[in-house]
């Protein structure tokens, strides 16, 4: 029966059911564009100035990097409230090692990343093997590491960092073509990325057609890709007329690609989704659920450490307050990006776009001079709206 009716379903129906299924993804993309357009108008064009676009990346990279790890933790059915504190703690550690103890940057950075992993392991151990709710373990971690960074810094700000540390964040990729301005590397990178996205999209389509998944209508595919590619080229061009590609943009993009690949195309990624979807079934199917949970937290710790380094490098100092309440922005980004609270679903790219939405909101409202009070209210409402949209969408489908 189903075979016949499925083939009988006219193409009109196909478009509608495709849209219903993917409304979330389109919605997210358009929300980001709409918000940017809104601020572009409201700030009188400041939003999309090359310098501001560069700033957007510099300011939000650490949130995006942590959102990658948080997505995995949330997909696995957990949460990590400690990332803001851990990030602050690692920044403080870096400052003490590099500034106070004159350690080489090349040694201090690996030590800091390793410490991040150890912190993740220390928390993940209790969650994975002792089945203590992650909310509680990481709430404890949040307090502990906040306290530890205060102790490390003795309540003071420590800085400045040497140049080679600062470039983690504020360095730019030189123009390999030697044009200078516009920066050739930026333009070339933008064009490569755009064509890569288009090519991957085409390949995915071919596969879907072969295996009977509901297919994205061609028109949608073209429009969506045109927008994404256009936006990429636009950003690349804008960056090229300023100082080119920021180093953080490179590390951020690489990490995003790597994590998107891991979550969507590898065995371990698949198992994390299964673990979050139904832990018992995943376990009975031969997944080492405890180990996976543990690793998710280790990974989160390393990424939080990296974020801490980037943040300290940008501010050029470590302060006891850095990373304060950042975990909330990170978690919000992941949920705006469509991850489910109960685990088992959510995408890397969604989390990244979610983080950008938060970032653009922060940035745009700051430029407009909106007070911190209203900023909080608006961000809260955006998060709520995104989740309501999700739930509504799901309900309509069943």
């Amino acid at each position: 029966m189903t075979d016949q009716t499925a083939s009988k379903a006219d193409s009109d129906n196909g478009v509608r059911s495709y849209l219903a299924k993917h409304l979330r993804e389109y919605g997210l993309l358009f929300a980001l564009i709409a918000i940017m357009a809104f601020f572009q108008v409201m700030t009188g064009g400041v939003m999309l100035r090359p310098i501001n676009i560069t700033n957007l990346f510099l300011q939000n990279s650490y949130i995006i990097i942590m959102a990658l790890g948080m997505l995995i933790v949330i997909v696995a059915g957990h949460i990590d409230l400690s990332v803001g504190s851990v990030m602050g703690f690692i920044g403080a550690l870096a400052a003490v090692l590099i500034v106070n103890m004159n350690m080489s940057v090349w040694l201090a950075v690996p030590i800091c990343l390793f410490m991040g992993g150890v912190i993740g392991a220390a928390q993940g151990y209790w969650v994975a093997y002792w089945k203590i709710p992650s909310f509680i373990v990481t709430l404890a971690g949040m307090l502990v590491f906040r306290g530890l960074s205060l102790w490390l810094l003795e309540g003071q700000s420590v800085g400045p960092f040497p140049k080679e540390f600062q470039i983690i964040s504020t360095g730019f990729v030189p123009d390999i073509f030697g044009i200078g301005r516009p920066n050739g590397t930026a333009l070339a990178a933008g064009a490569t990325a755009a064509s890569l996205i288009f090519w991957l999209g085409l390949r995915g389509r071919a596969r879907n057609r072969q295996y009977g998944a509901v297919e994205e209508p061609m028109a949608f595919f073209i429009v969506r890709n045109a927008i994404v590619m256009g936006a990429l080229m636009f950003v690349a061009y804008k960056l090229s007329t300023f100082r080119g590609l920021p180093n953080v943009l490179i590390s951020m993009t690489l990490l995003t690609v790597v994590y998107a690949f891991i979550t969507e195309n590898t065995v371990i990624g698949r198992r994390i989704y299964a673990l979050g979807g139904n832990e018992k079934a995943a376990k009975l199917s031969g997944t080492r659920t405890e180990r996976l949970t543990f690793l998710a937290f280790v990974n989160m710790g390393i990424l939080a450490a990296f974020a801490g380094l980037i943040f300290a490098a940008r501010l050029n100092t470590a302060t006891p307050k850095s990373g304060f309440a950042v975990e909330l922005d990170v978690i919000a980004a992941v949920f705006i990006g469509g991850a489910s609270m109960s685990g088992g679903s959510g995408k890397i790219i969604g989390a990244v776009v979610g983080a950008f939405i938060m970032g653009v909101l922060n940035n745009g409202m700051s430029i407009m001079g909106i007070g911190i009070d209203y900023q909080q209210i608006i961000k809260g409402l955006v998060l709520l709206a995104a989740v309501i949209f999700d739930v509504y969408n799901k309900r309509k489908q069943s």
């Binding site: 075979d3 499925a6 219903a20 979807g277 199917s285």
Partner: protein, 506 residues
């Protein structure tokens, strides 16, 4: 007798699936009306339409209840009219007590303060009515499925039920528990409760039903009156599958090769109560190409035995030895059990077998991902091809392998669990109630698959509460009771009576 319920030309569509097309159903006051049909025919969907799970407007057609046009927007609307549905998948809150579950949403309270006396007293009365001898304060989690089913009925009775709908109530029950339940249904009928039952067990339907409506491919094909016509099970099957089906079990030539699995002195203790022994000194063997049955009542320890063998996924302080192909095997966890060539199809597909929010494809490959991957990177083309092969060979009814498993009918979900384990290419396949909730046609297909495995010299262990199924399929049957093996019968010596006798004399 007057007509209590008329469903007229009900049509219900899901994205890409037409689950019901112009189905009609008419139920008389005070009768037991059975609904039969293959997996995915639309039985559960029809009942969800009736009970307001799918609200008016989300489907086409009309429902007349008590000669009035019904407009049920939620379950509460239908409950107010005395329509109570007990779903295919039980819906009790596991950590609450029997009494709390029965009065959940209907609490005995005054100004929001619970009246525990009344709650418990009324629960006692209800439990007596359904013949369940348990204390009202027992936590539901600790009861077996059979007893939980009775709690569901007690819950239905606690509301003023006029039309009770049971969706495959006996699928998870032993013969004995089923019989109790069916007697209870007849008793309720005498008290004037109209009932609709969905079941794949035709003998039960013949025993208690007054009328049968057969649904095939989302349309109602016939309504048979068991009192007027002389109807055989074969007649019902013919209407269900649309063709003649002369045999229930595919022909099978008994086979017996070398020993593939040998379990010795197997002892297991309860996972939480370390002084309660669940499995006592169990020993059994499985030969290549053999289908070995394990018979026993609910709670005999069959599932616990299988799970403890399968990578120690149940129990603690496990002792004993497992030999695979004559070699001592050290199996400390599930991954090592799988790589040693074991597979275990769980009896509880919803909570242990499937990731319900994932697609058919992802569920089928879950236990054997490395084989559709290279260096840890999945090859989705390969994966889709594998899933597609199983969809075709097991005749899984789904619009595509990209469908979410939770949207499939119960029987088709079961086939997906099977597909998952077949894909691991096991040497020993342990099947725990493999045909639970599966229609007759699909059962036949699954039996055929089991025979195919045995022809490829795999060993099959089959746990089932349906004795006819064990007798029809197995070469040898072990009988279990209270955690011990109390007997062993070869196919030609086995009969229902002998097995029951072994259980009783234990």
């Amino acid at each position: 007798m007057s007509t209590l319920l008329e469903m007229k030309a009900i049509t219900k569509e899901f994205p890409g699936v037409k689950a019901l097309s112009e189905v009609s159903l008419s139920v008389e006051q005070g009768e037991i009306h059975a609904i039969c049909g293959e997996n995915g025919a639309g039985k559960s969907t029809l009942m969800k339409v009736l009970s307001g799970v799918y609200s008016t407007g989300s489907y086409d057609g009309k429902i007349y209840y008590d000669s009035e046009l019904a407009d049920f927007r939620t379950i509460l609307d239908s409950e107010k009219k005395g329509i109570i549905i007990i779903h295919q998948e039980l819906a009790l809150v596991p950590l609450l007590s029997v009494a709390e579950n029965i009065f959940l949403g209907n609490e005995r309270a005054k100004n929001g303060v619970m009246n525990w006396h009344e709650t418990f007293d009324r629960t006692k009365v209800l439990l007596a009515k359904v013949g369940l001898r348990e204390s009202p304060s027992t936590v539901v989690d600790t009861l077996g499925v059979g007893k939980q089913q009775l709690v569901e009925i007690a819950k239905a009775l606690s509301k003023d039920v006029r039309l009770l709908i049971l969706d495959e109530p006996t699928a998870a029950l032993s013969e004995f528990d089923s019989a109790t339940l069916l007697d209870l249904m007849l008793e309720l009928k005498h008290q004037g409760v109209t009932q609709i039952i969905i079941s794949h067990k035709l003998n039960e339907i013949k025993r208690i039903a007054d009328k049968i409506t057969v649904i095939r491919d989302g349309t109602s094909v016939s309504t048979l009156d068991l009192h007027k016509q002389n109807i055989s099970e074969d007649d019902i099957v013919r209407d269900m599958v649309g063709r003649e089906m002369s045999q229930r079990y595919p022909p099978r030539i008994p086979r017996k090769g070398s020993k593939v699995m040998e379990v010795c002195e197997w002892n297991v203790w309860h996972p939480e109560h370390s002084n309660r022994q669940i499995i006592h000194d169990v020993a059994f063997t499985v030969h290549a190409g053999e289908v070995v049955g394990i018979a026993g009542l609910m709670g005999a320890g069959r599932t616990e035995l299988a799970m403890s063998i399968f990578g120690r996924s149940y129990g603690q302080k496990i002792s004993g030895s497992i030999k695979l192909h004559g070699q001592e095997a050290i199996i400390k966890d599930i991954p090592s059990a799988i790589s040693a060539g074991m597979a275990y199809v769980t009896e509880d597909r919803k909570s242990l077998g499937l990731v319900l929010d994932d697609t058919v494809q992802r569920n089928i490959t879950l236990a054997n991902l490395p084989s559709v991957a290279k260096a840890g990177v999945l090859n989705e083309d390969e994966e889709a091809k594998v899933a597609e092969e199983y969809r075709i060979s097991l005749q899984i009814r789904t619009p595509s392998v990209q469908q979410i498993v939770g949207n499939l009918s119960g029987g088709n979900q079961q086939k997906i669990v099977l597909a998952k384990w077949l894909f691991t290419e096991p040497d020993v396949l342990m099947l725990d109630e493999p045909t639970r909730g599966i229609d007759i046609g699909a059962k036949y297909e699954i039996y055929g698959l089991i025979n195919e495995l045995s022809e490829r010299d795999k060993g099959v262990v089959m746990i089932s509460s349906e004795l006819p199924e064990l007798l029809g399929m197995c070469d040898r049957i072990y009988v279990m009771n209270e955690g011990k093996i109390v007997g062993e019968l070869s196919a030609k010596d086995a009969s229902q009576e002998r097995i029951m006798a072994m259980i009783v004399t234990g």
